[in-house]
């Protein structure tokens, strides 16, 4: 049987939609476990990236290094390390997810803000905006497309890592996969994998829509050209 057969059989089994640890429950759980770290990371990384991008200078090197090296950190390693010390506690999965969600958002926000046309910055200073006003009213809106790319990259990454985090006890769609692998049942493994993929694609679509919504109208045409 192919992957799709296994997955389809399992997903269409009614029993899996009811009771403890059912499909709808785990879908919601997965969404929650993905949204929370993403939000926390955004709250940390967007202001930090904007402030660094606004100031420029030496920060470029630091951000660049972070941007290049964050992908080298193995998620499984971080998860298991924390699990050894903290057991299967919320922090065990929350911490790595937040840590790994920060770099794309930080780097992209930095790029977006630092990349604002120097003439526009000069004009913003020249008309009498304070630094903070420049960042909020001019630089961040202009950087919005890139910030959203960063958020999207992080979102995808978090959804994927949350799946793996089932290995250290997290609920969500990864539960089906890990438990299925444990008990050699390919049905839930395939089903869980399929659902996660669908979820990821939905998140992708959501961000496409969000990008369209949040990009200031003046930039939409320019963004399309890029």
């Amino acid at each position: 049987m192919s992957f799709f057969n296994w997955a389809w059989d399992w997903v269409t089994t009614d029993a899996n939609w009811h009771g403890q640890g059912s499909i709808p429950q785990q879908i919601l759980a997965h969404l929650g476990y993905s949204a929370l770290p993403l939000l926390i990371a955004a709250v940390i990384a967007i202001p930090a990236g904007a402030a660094l991008g606004h100031r420029g200078g030496k920060a470029a090197v630091v951000v660049s290094n972070i941007a290049n090296s964050w992908r080298s950190i193995p998620t499984l390693g971080l998860l298991t390390l924390l699990a050894v010390f903290l057991g299967f506690s919320p922090l065990t999965w929350l911490l790595p997810l937040v840590i790994l969600a920060i770099p794309p958002i930080l780097a992209n926000t930095y790029e977006g803000v630092a990349g604002v046309d120097p003439a526009v910055r000069d004009a913003a200073t020249g008309v009498g905006m304070t630094s903070w006003q420049q960042v909020i009213r001019v630089e961040v809106p202009i950087a919005m497309p890139l910030i959203l790319v960063g958020l999207r990259t992080s979102a995808i990454f978090v959804v994927a890592t949350a799946t793996i985090a089932a290995y250290v006890g997290l609920g969500g769609l990864g539960r089906f996969i890990i438990d299925g692998l444990d008990s050699s049942q390919y049905g839930p493994v395939a089903g869980g994998a399929l659902l996660v993929v669908i979820l990821a694609v939905i998140v992708l679509a959501l961000f496409a829509g969000l990008t369209w919504l949040l990009t200031p109208a003046g930039l939409r045409k320019q963004a399309k050209a890029e």
């Binding site: 046309d117 003439a119 526009v120 910055r121 000069d122 004009a123 913003a124 200073t125 020249g126 008309v127 009498g128 905006m129 304070t130 006003q133 001019v138 809106p141 202009i142 919005m144 200031p216 109208a217 003046g218 930039l219 045409k221 320019q222």
Partner: protein, 369 residues
């Protein structure tokens, strides 16, 4: 960029143009006024107050700032761009947008552009929006850094004219930086010419710069042809005009020859110029022929007495086959003609005071703006 020991006073309601070669510090000087550059030494006084004593952001909200690349906010509409400073100082958005639309008209743009975005506008239109944005909060002082350098010459001329008419209406104190001496001469009430390394070579009204450059550097910078260009500033009111060679088309050839002039200017019934005819040509024509039937040579162009400058008169004389400029009044009716000699006399009369000025000229003491 270094600026060295600068003393410059900018009188209220006047346009002072800072001009000089690249790297001379003119832009740095400008940007010290609104503290985009902090001077390491010295004092910048705005309306008597040291600019350093004021909060930079608040200071800048009271100064209009226009730059070469416009720096329009791409994510905001044209009207929201213009409304930036009013909104920043607390105006309700609706009122700010109304003001923005007023300014749009003031800089000569159609109201439909209000809801467009900067990237949808041409270079010249964007520059006008930049000026409108600078004027939105009605600041007493306007700083302009090479505002017209990024557009093509035709658009540039239109923008300069717009600036002149705006200034006539609004009487702002303007400090404008340019590398183009022609622009400086055209729009400036006072021109401050920089040397390459940040010192001032001469500060004077443009006519004086042309008539009496302080040294060879200034003369060289101002450029070739300054004698003639300077004539743009000399009015034609005092020009002596001769009405005798002017005859209507129905006068006879005989009458024309009787005047005794080498050239006759033929006018139509309304006293508008039709052309020149040489006495030599007339001598070969039967005496009773009306002048209107004689072939004439074109006038070239006429100059309007009083409003046009001596430069226009000189140019008219050069173009005229008779070597005489035809002077007309506001309705185009001929008032008289001026020969090269008469024009030269007017030039000499204008030159005399300029010679005195060169001896007395000083760069004003004390930095003020």
């Amino acid at each position: 960029m270094a600026v060295d020991a600068l003393n410059l006073e900018v009188p209220e309601g006047k346009t002072v143009v800072l001009v000089g070669p690249s790297g001379c510090g003119k832009t740095t000087t400008l940007r010290m006024i609104n503290r985009l550059v902090e001077p390491t030494q010295g004092l910048i006084l705005l309306d008597g107050t040291d600019v350093k004593s004021r909060n930079p952001a608040h200071l800048r909200r009271g100064i209009g700032y226009v730059i070469q690349q416009t720096g329009l906010f791409p994510h905001r509409t044209v009207e929201d761009n213009i409304a930036t400073v009013p909104v920043l100082t607390g105006w309700p958005r609706k009122k700010a947008r109304e003001r923005a639309r007023e300014l749009l008209a003031l800089v000569g743009l159609e109201p439909e552009l209000a809801k467009r975005y900067p990237h949808q506008l041409s270079g010249g239109q964007q520059q006008r929006v930049g000026v409108a944005r600078a004027l939105a909060a009605d600041p007493p002082v306007l700083l302009m850094d090479e505002p017209f350098s990024a557009v093509d010459p035709v658009v540039r001329a239109a923008l300069q004219d717009q600036l002149l008419s705006l200034q006539a209406e609004l009487r702002k104190t303007i400090v404008l930086v340019t590398h183009d001496i022609e622009e400086a001469i055209k729009v400036g009430d006072i021109v401050a010419l920089f040397r390459p390394h940040g010192t001032l070579a001469q500060v004077a009204p443009p006519e004086q710069l042309l008539a009496a450059p302080a040294d060879d550097y200034v003369a060289g910078f101002v450029g070739f042809d300054r004698g003639i260009r300077r004539l743009s500033f000399v009015p034609t009111e005092g020009l002596v005009l001769d009405a005798s060679p002017i005859l209507p088309a129905d006068a006879t050839v005989a009458k024309a020859l009787a005047v005794g002039q080498p050239w006759i200017c033929v006018t139509d019934a309304d006293r508008r110029p039709r052309g020149w005819v040489a006495a030599a040509t007339l001598a070969e024509t039967p005496g009773d022929t009306p002048l209107g039937q004689v072939a004439t040579e074109p006038v070239g162009h006429a100059f309007t007495v009083g409003t046009d400058s001596l430069r226009a008169a000189l140019d008219a004389a050069v173009l005229s086959p008779a070597g005489q400029a035809v002077g007309v009044d506001g309705d185009g009716r001929v008032r008289g003609v001026a020969t090269f000699d008469q024009i030269r006399a007017a030039i000499q009369a204008a030159d005399a005071p300029a010679a005195d000025l060169r001896l007395d000229q000083r760069i004003p003491e004390g930095p003020r703006s």
